[in-house]
C-alpha cells in the first residue's frame, strides 16, 4: 500500500510539473499575471508530492518491504538502519528520485527567496525548472520506477553494494547532487533572461548567490567523495579520474568559471554572453554526467545495471534541454550588448584568461572521459585513457590559471598598470621562488614538478597575504574594525583562494614525497617506512552486523616510542560474498600513516601494504576552505538586506570580490 502511495504521488507530481512548466512560461510571454501566478503554488505542491514519494520509499526500506523490486535489490534484513535509509539512493531508480527530490528543494527555495524578482522573471525561472522536473519524473515513471513490485516477494534482499556501506554514503551523494542539481537554478536564471531579453547586471546579481551556494555544495560533495575513496578503496589514492568523478568535476570547473564571470557581469556589465553560456554549460555538464553514469555507455566503478531504453530516454532529454537552450543562446545572444570596455592589462582580462583556462580544462576532461567512447563508435577498438592522460593535460592548464589567480584580485578593474602590479607582487614572487627551490632540498629531493607545485602554492598564498596586508594596513583604527571593513564576500574570496593554496601544497607534497611498501608479515614482524617501525601483531576474527572480518593490529613506534595502533580490516559481506578492505589510518596535519590488509598467506602471515602520506589531509582541508569561503560570500550584507527590502542594495564597488 505505502509504495503505491509513493508511486501515485510521483504521478501527481508529474501532472503538477506539466502545469509548472507550461502556464507560467506562456503567461510570462503574454503578460498574463494569473498564469504567471501559478508558478509558486505549483513549485510548492511539487515539492510536497515528491517528498511524499521519497518518504514512502525510505519507509519501504526501513520496514524491509521486499515486495518492492528496488528495495529487494539494494537492501537486506541484516543491513543496519542508517544504511537501509542511505540505500534509498544506492541504486539507479533511487538516485533519480534523489535527483528529483533535490531539484524540487531548489525550486521551492527559489519560490520562497524570489520576492524581489519581477513577476515575469520569477515565472520563467520556475517554469524552466518545472520543465526539467518533467523530464526526470517521466524518466522514472516510464523506465526507472523505484516502486515497481516484485511478485512473489523476495525472501530477503540482495543487500546494498558493500562498497557503499560506509558513513560516506549517507551524505556524499546528497551533497554532490545538491551541487550539480543546484546549477539548474543558474541555468533557469540564464534561460529566463534569454527569453525575457533582460541580460543585465541585475540578472547577474540575482544569480550569484544561487550559483555560489550550488558551488559550495559541489565542492563539499566532491571533497567528501575523494576522502571516502581514500579510506575505502584501500590503496591510498584520493582521485582516480574515473568517469563518474569526472562527471562531477566538469561542472565544478565550469561552475568556478561561472562564479567569476558573474562577478564581472555584475560589476562591469561585461562578458554577458559568455556568462550565459557558462551557466548553460555548467548545468548541461551535470545532465551529461547523469547520462554517462546512468546510461551505461561508459563502465566505471559506479556503473549500475543498465537498460538501453534508459540511455535512449536520457539522450533524447539531453538533446531537448541542452540543444534547445544552446539554440536559444545562438538566437538571442547576438542581441546582447558588449558591456564596458577594458584594457589588456586589467582585472577583466585576468579573469577572462582564467575563465578560458578553466573552460578548456573542463573540455579536456570531457574529451578524456568520452575518448574511449569516440574510438569505440568509430570502430577503433576498446581502450581507456587513465590518469596519465589527465595528469599530462591538466597540469599545464592549471599552472597558468593558478599564476593568474594570484594577480587577478590585486589588479584594478578596467585598466591596471604593469609596473605597479609588479611592485605590489614582488615580495610574493620572491618568497615563492625561494620556497620552491629551498623547501624540496630540505625535505630530501627536488624535481621540476615539486618545484612548480610549491611555487604555485606559495605564490597564491603570498599574493593573498599581501592582498590582506595592503587592505588592513593603515591608520589609527583598531585591528577588529580594519578586519571588518572589507565585505564578507571579499574575505570569502581570499579564504577560498587560500584554500587553493593549501590544496595545491597538499597535492604537491603527497605526490612528491609519499612512500609505500608491500610486505609479507607474520605476527611479530616489523616493517620500516619513513622512520617509523610497524609491528604486525596478528589478526583477530570479528563479526559485524552483516559481515565477518579479519582485523589486523599494527603497532607503530618511532625510536622505540609508541605512536599509535592501526586496525585495518578485511571484511567479507555475507550476502553478496564480497571482500572489502577497510584501511587503518592515523591522520594528522603532518602526515597520514596508512595500512591495509591484502590477502592471508600461509601460517598466519598476511600481505600488508603500508603507506606514508605526508600532508595528504591538506587536500581536503583546502577544499573545505574553498567551501567556507563560498559560505562567507553568501553571508554578505547585501544579500541579507536584499531579502528584507525590495529595494536593491548596491554592493560597495570598492569591495568587489572576484
Amino acid at each position: 500500500m505505502i509504495p503505491e502511495i509513493g508511486h501515485f504521488a510521483l504521478i501527481l507530481a508529474l501532472l503538477v510539473a506539466f502545469i509548472q512548466g507550461s502556464f507560467p512560461l506562456i503567461g510570462a510571454a503574454r503578460g498574463n499575471t494569473v498564469w504567471m501566478g501559478l508558478a509558486r503554488p505549483a513549485a510548492r505542491a511539487q515539492f510536497f508530492l515528491i517528498s511524499v514519494a521519497f518518504i514512502c520509499l525510505a519507509y519501504a526500506f526501513a520496514t524491509m518491504d521486499y515486495s518492492v523490486t528496488y528495495v529487494a535489490s539494494n537492501s537486506n534484513s541484516k543491513l543496519p538502519l542508517q544504511y537501509r535509509i542511505a540505500a534509498v539512493w544506492g541504486g539507479h531508480e533511487g538516485s533519480l528520485l534523489l535527483w528529483a527530490m533535490i531539484l524540487s528543494i531548489w525550486t521551492v527555495a527559489v519560490s520562497f527567496f524570489s520576492k524581489h524578482l519581477p513577476d515575469a522573471m520569477r515565472a520563467r525561472i520556475l517554469g524552466v525548472m518545472g520543465l526539467i522536473s518533467i523530464g526526470f519524473l517521466l524518466f522514472m515513471l516510464t523506465v526507472s520506477n523505484p516502486f515497481e513490485r516484485l511478485i512473489p516477494a523476495a525472501m530477503d534482499g540482495r543487500d546494498l553494494n558493500p562498497l557503499l556501506q560506509d558513513p560516506g554514503m549517507v551524505f556524499h551523494p546528497p551533497m554532490l547532487y545538491m551541487g550539480y542539481v543546484g546549477f539548474s537554478v543558474a541555468f533557469a536564471f540564464a534561460i529566463a533572461a534569454l527569453l525575457g531579453g533582460e541580460l543585465d547586471a541585475a540578472w547577474a546579481r540575482w544569480s550569484r548567490p544561487w550559483t555560489t551556494m550550488a558551488w559550495v555544495f559541489l565542492t563539499t560533495g566532491i571533497m567528501a567523495g575523494s576522502n571516502w575513496a581514500y579510506y575505502e578503496l584501500g590503496w591510498g589514492g584520493w582521485w582516480f579520474w574515473d568517469a563518474v568523478e569526472n562527471a562531477s568535476f566538469m561542472p565544478w570547473l565550469v561552475g568556478t568559471a561561472l562564479i567569476h564571470s558573474l562577478a564581472v557581469t555584475e560589476k562591469r556589465g561585461s562578458f554577458k554572453a559568455w556568462t550565459v553560456l557558462l551557466a548553460i554549460c555548467a548545468f548541461s555538464l551535470s545532465l551529461l554526467g547523469t547520462f554517462l553514469v546512468r546510461s551505461g555507455v561508459l563502465t566505471s566503478v559506479h556503473a549500475f545495471a543498465t537498460d538501453p531504453r534508459r540511455g535512449l530516454f536520457i539522450l533524447v532529454f539531453l538533446v531537448i534541454v541542452i540543444g534547445g537552450s544552446l539554440a536559444l543562446f545562438a538566437w538571442r545572444a547576438p542581441t546582447v550588448g558588449r558591456g564596458g570596455k577594458f584594457d589588456v592589462v586589467s582585472r577583466e582580462s585576468f579573469l577572462l584568461a582564467n575563465n578560458v583556462l578553466l573552460a578548456v580544462a573542463a573540455i579536456s576532461v570531457l574529451f578524456g572521459t568520452l575518448y574511449p567512447l569516440f574510438l569505440d563508435a568509430l570502430g577503433l577498438g576498446k581502450i581507456s585513457v587513465g590518469p596519465p592522460y589527465f595528469d599530462t593535460v591538466f597540469a599545464p592548464l592549471m599552472a597558468p590559471a593558478l599564476f593568474l589567480m594570484g594577480i587577478g584580485p590585486i589588479a584594478r578593474w578596467k585598466q591596471a598598470a604593469l609596473p605597479e602590479l609588479a611592485k605590489r607582487l614582488r615580495w610574493a614572487f620572491g618568497v615563492s621562488i625561494a620556497t620552491a627551490i629551498v623547501l624540496p632540498l630540505l625535505l630530501g629531493h627536488w624535481t621540476p614538478m615539486i618545484g612548480l607545485g610549491l611555487f604555485l602554492a606559495f605564490w597564491v598564498f603570498g599574493t593573498s597575504v599581501s592582498l590582506i596586508y595592503q587592505r588592513l594596513r593603515g591608520s589609527g583604527q583598531s585591528l577588529m574594525t580594519r578586519i571588518k571593513s572589507p565585505s564578507r564576500s571579499w574575505w570569502g574570496m581570499v579564504i577560498a583562494h587560500l584554500g587553493i593554496a593549501v590544496f595545491t601544497l597538499g597535492v604537491t607534497v603527497v605526490k612528491g614525497f609519499e612512500s609505500e611498501i608491500a610486505v609479507r608479515m607474520q605476527p611479530g614482524d616489523v616493517a620500516h617506512l619513513a622512520g617509523f617501525d610497524f609491528t604486525f601483531e596478528g589478526v583477530t576474527e570479528i563479526e559485524g552486523p552483516n559481515y565477518s572480518a579479519s582485523r589486523g593490529q599494527i603497532r607503530i613506534t618511532k625510536n622505540g616510542v609508541e605512536r599509535t595502533v592501526l586496525a585495518p580490516e578485511k571484511r567479507v559481506y555475507t550476502v553478496q560474498n564480497m571482500p572489502m578492505t577497510e584501511a587503518g589510518i592515523s591522520p594528522s596535519f603532518i602526515h597520514d600513516l596508512y595500512a591495509s590488509l591484502g590477502e592471508p598467506l600461509d601460517s598466519g602471515a598476511w600481505s600488508v601494504r603500508i603507506y606514508h602520506k605526508p600532508m595528504v589531509e591538506w587536500i581536503w582541508v583546502g577544499c573545505l576552505m574553498m567551501a567556507f569561503g563560498g559560505l562567507l560570500a553568501l553571508s554578505d550584507r547585501r544579500y541579507r538586506l536584499k531579502n528584507r527590502s525590495k529595494t536593491v542594495v548596491q554592493g560597495n564597488d570598492a569591495e568587489v570580490s572576484a
Binding site: 512473489p152 525472501m155 563502465t299 539522450l315 540543444g323 568520452l370 567512447l373 563508435a377
Partner: protein, 175 residues
C-alpha cells in the same frame, strides 16, 4: 551570429557519438574462453546430491550452460525466456546454481518453473571461477566437441536468443 552557433554544433557532434555509443556495450568484453574447451567439472545435482553432472556427459551434443541463483534479480527477468526455450526443445539447457542454498534454489524453481534438464550446484563458486563468471546470470553455448562458442553476460533476452543464440545453435547442430 555564427560564433554563437558554435556551442550548439559542438554539442550535436557529441550527441552523435553518444547515440552510437548507446548501441555499443562496454561490457561486451571478448571472453578469453570463447573458442577454448569448456573447463571440466563434476558437480552434485541440485535435485539429488547423490548424482553428479559432468561436462564429459555432454560431449556430442550442443547445449546451453546457464549460471543462475535465487538471489539474482536479473535471473527473474531471464527466467520466462528460458522456460519458453526449454518447452520449444530447440536446445538442452543445463543450469549451474551459483553460490546459493539448496532449499532456496529449489523453491525458486518450483515457483518459476524449471527450464533445466538438470542443475549443478556450485555452492562455493569454485567452478564459477574456472568459467570466469563476472556476475549472474551468464550463459554459455557449448558445441559438440565441448568448446565454448559464445558467452552471454547478463540476462538472455528474446532478442539475443532470436538473433544470436538460436542461429548459432542451429549452425553448430548441423556441423
Amino acid at each position: 551570429m555564427k560564433r554563437f552557433l558554435l556551442p550548439l554544433v559542438v554539442f550535436l557532434t557529441v550527441v552523435g557519438f553518444l547515440a552510437v555509443g548507446l548501441n555499443l556495450d562496454p561490457r561486451e568484453v571478448p571472453s578469453p574462453l570463447v573458442g577454448k574447451p569448456a573447463p571440466m567439472f563434476s558437480l552434485p545435482r541440485l535435485d539429488n546430491p547423490e548424482k553428479t553432472i559432468s561436462t564429459k556427459d555432454m560431449l556430442g551434443k550442443v547445449w546451453l550452460f546457464n549460471v543462475w541463483a535465487s538471489w539474482c534479480g536479473a535471473c527473474r527477468d531471464e527466467h520466462p525466456v528460458l522456460v519458453n526455450l526449454s518447452k520449444s526443445g530447440a536446445v538442452p539447457i543445463y543450469g549451474m546454481n551459483y553460490k546459493d542454498t539448496r532449499p532456496e534454489a529449489q523453491q525458486w524453481l518450483e515457483a518459476g518453473g524449471n527450464p533445466y534438464i538438470a542443475s549443478a550446484m556450485d555452492a562455493d563458486g569454485r567452478v564459477g571461477i574456472d568459467y570466469g563468471v563476472y556476475g549472474v546470470p551468464e550463459t554459455y553455448v557449448i558445441d559438440k566437441a565441448g568448446v565454448i562458442a559464445y558467452k552471454q553476460i547478463g540476462p538472455v533476452t528474446e532478442e539475443v536468443l532470436r538473433n544470436k543464440i538460436l542461429p548459432l545453435v542451429k549452425r553448430l547442430q548441423t556441423q
